[in-house]
């Protein structure tokens, strides 16, 4: 890139970012040059705070590249990339199933490096706060959350749209697992979410992802679905759930598969551990490679741990020969 971007072309190169705009060869050639360019990163909304407030300044300081992020639901971002609407250098998704549809045109690999889990966030000043607090501090069993508290008439529960947001599906799957784990009646989930159609978006409980936590923080909801990373970053009061139901344990992956949600389009999703995956899109750029490498470095993973994520040993999936060498080195490969 340093060689390619001389004279008048330098400005265009420094503004960066078309995935096809730079070659990996030029990327490696820039190793000794002063880094220029921007890592354009499309990331799952649950990474927004971490990426924009923590990783971005640290990455720019450490690597010299600028950072430009775009948050959204993982499925939405996958659609946007596939349709050519956006052309990021890097894609971070919740779940590899949002990356594999982009193979092999946009990428041939992804690396799994962090995990998160579902919690129930609650309003600490609402009329039902004492019931939630009792469960959060362990003085009441967690199963009472599902058998009674969340079924309290008039309780205001918020969740996201299962058709477009992984968290919306995960929350329903968590309730299904809890129903089984706590040996509750078969209509428990339907009673809690107010419908037996798990894929419907026509429910007064459903909020846009951007509005859900804000509504809870404003005190206008009693409880809401959340990833534990969101609860940590937004300082939400929350109830941690057992591994058997929180979709955050790899040891329970087989049991999670028993929970399913069929959305409006007819597609059925099975429960799985909630992992964060990262890949480059298009021909890797120097800035994009640097961002992935930084994310997978010990410094990057420490930021994820501080943000409430479970840090995993970075593991590559797909065609490992397509992974740029600089990233492979972070995998120990």
């Amino acid at each position: 890139m340093g060689i390619a971007c001389v004279g008048l072309a330098a400005a265009a190169c420094s503004s960066s970012s078309s995935p096809s705009g730079n070659s990996s060869a030029s990327a490696s050639a820039s190793a000794s040059a002063k880094p220029t360019g921007t890592a354009n990163v499309a990331y799952a909304s649950s990474l927004q705070y971490l990426n924009e407030k923590v990783v971005s300044p640290a990455f720019t300081s450490a690597e010299g590249y600028k950072f430009s992020g775009r948050g959204g639901a993982s499925g939405e971002l996958e659609q946007n990339i596939a349709s050519g609407e956006i052309s990021p250098n890097v894609f971070q998704a919740v779940g590899g199933d949002n990356i594999t549809p982009l193979e092999p045109k946009f990428t041939k690999w992804y690396v799994q490096y962090a995990g998160t889990s579902i919690v129930v966030a609650y309003n600490p000043t609402g009329p039902h706060a004492s019931a939630f607090k009792a469960i959060a501090d362990g003085s009441q069993p967690v199963c009472s959350l599902f058998s009674s508290v969340l079924q309290t008439p008039g309780l205001k529960l918020g969740r996201t749209d299962p058709n477009i947001d992984p968290q919306g599906r995960d929350f329903i799957m968590m309730l299904q697992l809890a129903q089984s784990y706590c040996h509750l009646p078969s209509d428990t989930v339907a009673k809690i979410i107010g419908t037996s159609d798990f894929g419907t978006a026509s429910s007064s409980q459903i909020y846009a992802e951007s509005a859900l936590e804000a509504t809870l923080q404003s005190g206008q909801l009693d409880a809401a679905s959340a990833f534990i990373s969101q609860a940590v970053q937004l300082h939400l009061s929350s109830i941690k759930l057992p591994d058997a139901i929180n979709l955050g344990s790899f040891a329970d992956a087989a049991a999670y598969k028993k929970a399913t949600v069929t959305v409006k389009s007819g597609k059925t999703y099975k429960g799985s551990p909630q992992v964060i995956d990262i890949t480059t899109i298009g021909t890797p750029t120097a800035a994009g490679i640097a961002f992935v490498r930084y994310t997978l470095s010990s410094a990057g993973l420490a930021q994820y741990k501080a943000g409430g994520f479970t840090v995993l040993t970075p593991t590559a999936f797909g065609d490992s020969s397509a992974i740029p060498a600089a990233i492979k080195s972070e995998l120990g490969g």
């Binding site: 959204g72 659609q79 349709s83 477009i164 978006a201 429910s203 007064s204 951007s210 404003s218 206008q220």
Partner: protein
């Protein structure tokens, strides 16, 4: 006349074609070449205007060039695909009714200088125009959420102002109200107060003067204000997505379809939005222009 009203009057005057007769004005009626294109500078003006006009139409042109008619047919014939259209039209109609009933008296009082500290009133209306719609939505949570005094009051009559049709109407009213109130203020400011005074001297009471003199003269401007508010309500998204995710209107249908199945299947709903939202403002424009010409004789 206040600065806001003057600015709005200037804008609506141009829109109505009262100050600057265009191709439909006297020149065309006389069967001659419009004066504006007789000279080179006039031709340059027309070309410049055309460039700006086409640039403004850029997104609409992009819509039509990227629409797949197969996708239009597939998207719009899916079961329930047009339900959001009904929701949008119904909520838009309610919004217009609320704006007319509540916004018209406010605009008249502002235009006639009947309110103390007039700049404060104008600034208040401008505030909701300045705030990003997303922020309006977030602030509406504090105002009408279920645990607020208003929310609890609504709860007593089994109503809710979050994720309901009522919430959708509230969000649309807040997003579109300033457009109507400022346009209506300009329309009332354009009515010569001497005509009202003469009607009063002839014995008409204020309410009758308003009904027989002020309202008819201001109607073209009010119609334009309502049509702009209608277009704003139909396209309202920022506040809507925060407090009224359900039931879906067309903007949210576009948003969710984009996320569910991608751009190709979302774009047809943008076409529906244009087809539904555009006729009313166009009709109001044509009617206002004709009314303006009739008034000029």
């Amino acid at each position: 006349m206040s600065w806001a009203a003057r600015a709005a009057t200037a804008a609506s005057g141009t829109v109505l074609g009262e100050e600057a007769p265009g191709p439909s004005g006297p020149a065309r009626r006389n069967g001659t070449t419009p004066r504006t294109v007789r000279s080179v500078s006039g031709l340059v003006s027309v070309i410049g205007a055309a460039v700006i006009w086409i640039a403004l139409l850029g997104p609409v042109i992009a819509l039509f060039t990227h629409l797949s008619w197969h996708a239009v047919r597939t998207s719009l014939t899916a079961p329930g695909a047009l339900d959001p259209l009904v929701v949008s039209v119904e909520s838009g109609a309610v919004t217009l009714a609320v704006l007319f009933v509540l916004g018209t008296p406010l605009a008249w009082l502002m235009a006639r200088g009947r309110l103390p500290f007039p700049r404060v009133w104008e600034a208040g209306v401008l505030c909701s125009l300045l705030l990003p719609p997303l922020v309006i939505g977030l602030l509406l949570i504090f105002m009408v959420g279920p645990y607020t005094p208003i929310g609890e009051l609504l709860g007593r009559v089994h109503l809710s102002a979050t994720n309901t049709f009522l919430a959708l109407c509230i969000a649309e009213v807040y997003e579109s109200a300033p457009y109507y109130v400022l346009s209506a203020q300009a329309a009332f400011s354009g009515v010569d107060p001497r005509l009202e005074q003469q009607a009063q001297l002839l014995g008409d009471r204020p309410a009758r003067v308003f009904r027989r003199v002020t309202l008819p003269l201001a109607t073209p401007g009010l119609a334009m204000g309502l049509s702009v508010a209608w277009a704003r309500a139909m396209g309202a998204f920022g506040a809507v997505v925060i407090i009224a995710y359900h039931p879906f209107g067309i903007p949210l249908q576009i948003y969710t379809t984009l996320q569910e199945t991608g751009l190709a299947s979302a774009l047809p709903f943008a076409l529906v939005l244009l087809v539904v939202a555009l006729p009313l403002p166009l009709a109001a424009y044509i009617w206002s222009a004709r009314a303006g010409r009739r008034r000029r004789g």
